[in-house]
Each structure stands twice: as C-alpha cells, then as structure tokens.
C-alpha cells in the first residue's frame, strides 16, 4: 500500500524534527495552546509518568474515539484500517527507534518509552491517511510536542479538564 501525500508530509516532519532537544525546558513557543501544561524535569519522572495506567488508558481511548468517528462516517474505508496501520508501522517503528537511540543509550530507557512514542506516531500517520475523510484526532495533537522536542508522558485530572504532563 502506498502512503497518501498527507501521510508522507507528516512523516517528513517527524523525520526532520529534532526530537528530545527541549526535554525538561520551559516552553519557548506555546503557539495558541491554552491547555494547562506541567513540565517534569527528568527522565526518571517522565518514565514514571508514562507507565501510569491512566495515561495508557488515555492513549487507547483517544484511538477508540477517532476510530468510532471514522467508522461512523466511512465504515467501508474504516474496514481497511489494518492495512493502513501495517503500512505506516513499516515507517513509524524504525523512525521511533532511530530517534530514540541516542537518548536510549544515555539514559537506559525502558521499552515503555518507545512503545508510547510508537503508538502516538503510528496513530498520527494513520490519521493522516484518513485526513481526506475526517479530521485527525487527539493523538495527532500530541505529536506537536514530539516534533517540538518534548516527550508527552501523562495526563492528570479527568479529561478534558486537567493537565498534560510533558518532559
């Protein structure tokens, strides 16, 4: 399966971005973001947060909400979801591994960090595959933090109220 132009463009942004260059730093450019952000100051804290079951729930539920929306407007196209997922995973898995390698070596990060990033990037690319049908979901929005050098790692509070935790 050939990836759509929007997906390839999104993939390029991921590739060109300098991942993790702003971890632990205050926001330089928060754009039009008004959601409360809490910044943690170490990998140890970030790791602890990203292993939180509530964060795992949020990431899974975000994918569920997006897929429900997609299935509602285009069940036939949604039935090819797995083909799109498998196609983008050929890129997302190696990309995350490569981007993570330098910090992985330095900080001995657990597999959970890689799987969290892989989930967000894979879903973002898959949402781009369907961008001609419906708008991308929350996981695409979380990718903003990755390409801006941070690591989104938790949410505290009952969504959508509460704080996004980033490193």
């Amino acid at each position: 399966m050939t990836l759509r132009p929007a997906t390839l463009a999104t993939l390029e942004h991921f590739k060109k971005a300098d991942w993790f260059v702003r971890v632990g730093q205050n926001l330089v450019d928060s754009g039009n973001i008004t959601v409360p952000i809490t910044i943690v100051s170490s990998w140890a804290e970030a790791i602890q947060h990203c292993q939180d079951s509530e964060w795992e729930w949020l990431l899974n539920e975000s994918a569920n909400i997006y897929r429900e929306r997609l299935a509602k407007v285009a069940q036939k196209e949604f039935n090819t979801w797995n083909e799109h997922i498998r196609a983008v995973k050929e890129f997302s898995g190696p990309l995350v591994k490569a981007k993570l390698a330098p910090v992985q070596k330095e900080h001995d990060l657990p597999p959970k960090v890689e799987s969290t990033l892989r989930w967000i990037v894979t879903m973002t690319l898959t949402e781009a595959e369907y961008a001609h049908i419906t708008e991308p979901g929350y996981l695409t929005k979380l990718s903003f933090w990755i390409v801006n050098g941070h690591f989104p790692c938790d949410w505290k509070g009952e969504f959508p109220n509460g704080n996004l935790i980033i490193y």
């Binding site: 079951s53 909400i65 797995n82 997922i85 708008e135 959508p160």
Partner: protein, 244 residues
C-alpha cells in the same frame, strides 16, 4: 502550505490548519467507560428465597476445581428459572433482564458482546448475557474472572506493545475469542457455541457485519493477578535445576 505542512503552529500539524476548532483544546469527547459486566447492579427484583442460597454457594465454589461444569450447569438452571416466558431455545438473556435478578448472589451478568467494545453500538441493557459466578476483576479463578482474562489476552494483541499493535479485530474475530473465553471459563462447549451464535445474531440485528472492523479496543481491565505461592519460612531451599 502543502498538505500536512508544519510551521510550528500546532493547528497546522497534519493538515489541522484547515479544520476549524480542531486545536489542542478542542473537546475530545473523552468517555470514562466502565465495563458494565463488572459493575454491581442494584436490584429491585425479589429473588426466589429458596434459590438464592444455592446460587450464592455456586458462586463461591465455582472456581477452577473439579465439578466446575456441574456448578455452571446449576447456575444456568437457575438463570433459566429467572427467565420466565423469555425466548424459547436461547441460553442468553438481555443484560437488563438478567442482571437485576442476580444482585447479591455472587453471580454477575456477563455481556457476550463486551460492553466496553460494543457499548456505543448495542444498548447495554439489550446486550445478550450469561450468568457468570464471581467478580471479573477480583475473584481470581472464578468463571467470570477467567472469561475476562481470556478476552484480555485477545485484546492485548491490539493494545500498545501487542503483536497487532494499533490494529482492530473484525466482529468475527471477536466472536471467535468470545467462544474460546466461555470455554476457558468452564462453560460447556455446546452452551458456549450457542451463546456465541446468539451474540452473532445480535451483532447482525444491529447491522454489524462479521468482516467489519471493530472501532473500540477496550482499555485494560487491570484484573487482580493470582498470587505466587510462597515458600513457608523454614522450607528447605529449592535445589537448582541443572541441564533442564
């Protein structure tokens, strides 16, 4: 800007700039879902006073022990006695009819089309259900716990870190896993098969095709894990195994 272009503005990422109201603060519509099949159901329906202790006893003993199938059969008999006129020839009941009569018995109504997966497609109270002894989260080794543990193994494939990470199953795959989970819980194979067929019929009734993808992958159930057996304080050390 090209499709999916990114200029540092969060709304521009992956083509979001063209979508009004799709910024990072747009409401996600996040639902805090609870698996209905593990929720205690308050009942206003009086239970047959003679039958209640039997069912309670079955609920306590129906673990992975010899005779579990007999215990399950007693539960099924009791469930049938609750059905009244019901639908002849079926082994399942709508959750809304089954659950109230089970309150306080130690037996819970178990959705076959799991509510956490199908709750937005099949109304919770209409969901075909079987009576299952035990609490799905805490009663380790009970039929209800085992049925969900089996389904958790199935859903884990599609969750973060799973073999089919990010994919979703078809309705037919879910039904196959459901049949297996019932048998893993000690339900006799012919009953499991019939119950699964009734779940399939309900899917069809709500317009769900066997080959269609399922949008929702339930969040982890976080079942209590079986405790590892511990050696008594003065037990001799276990000899090391050489060349296993």
């Amino acid at each position: 800007m090209s499709a999916g272009g990114f200029n540092g503005d969060v709304n521009s990422f992956a083509g979001l700039s063209a979508i009004p109201g799709s910024g990072p603060n747009a409401a996600l519509g996040y639902h805090v879902l609870k698996d209905a099949s593990i929720t205690a159901v308050a009942s206003s329906v009086p239970m047959d006073a003679a039958a209640a202790p039997v069912v309670a006893a079955v609920g306590k003993v129906a673990t992975k022990i010899p005779g579990v199938e007999a215990a399950m059969a007693k539960v099924a008999d009791f469930a049938n006695s609750l059905k009244g006129p019901g639908t002849p020839g079926t082994v399942t009941q709508p959750y809304g009819e089954l659950a109230p009569g089970l309150s306080g018995t130690g037996v819970q109504a178990h959705h076959l089309n799991q509510d956490a997966a199908y709750g937005s497609l099949i109304p919770k109270d209409q969901g075909v259900s079987l009576p299952m002894p035990g609490n799905a989260i805490t009663d380790v080794g009970s039929p209800h716990y085992d049925a969900h543990a089996s389904m958790e193994g199935f859903w884990n494939q599609f969750r973060e870190g799973g073999a089919r990470e990010g994919e979703t199953p078809t309705n037919a795959e879910v039904l196959q896993a459901t049949n297996k989970s019932l048998q893993n819980a000690g339900v006799p194979s012919n009953t499991a098969r019939q119950a699964t067929q009734e779940a399939a019929a309900q899917q069809k009734q709500y317009g769900l095709q066997p080959e269609s993808a399922v949008p929702r992958v339930p969040g982890k159930l976080n079942q209590v894990q079986p405790t590892q057996p511990t050696a008594p304080p003065n037990a001799p050390p276990v000899p090391a195994v050489k060349n296993p």
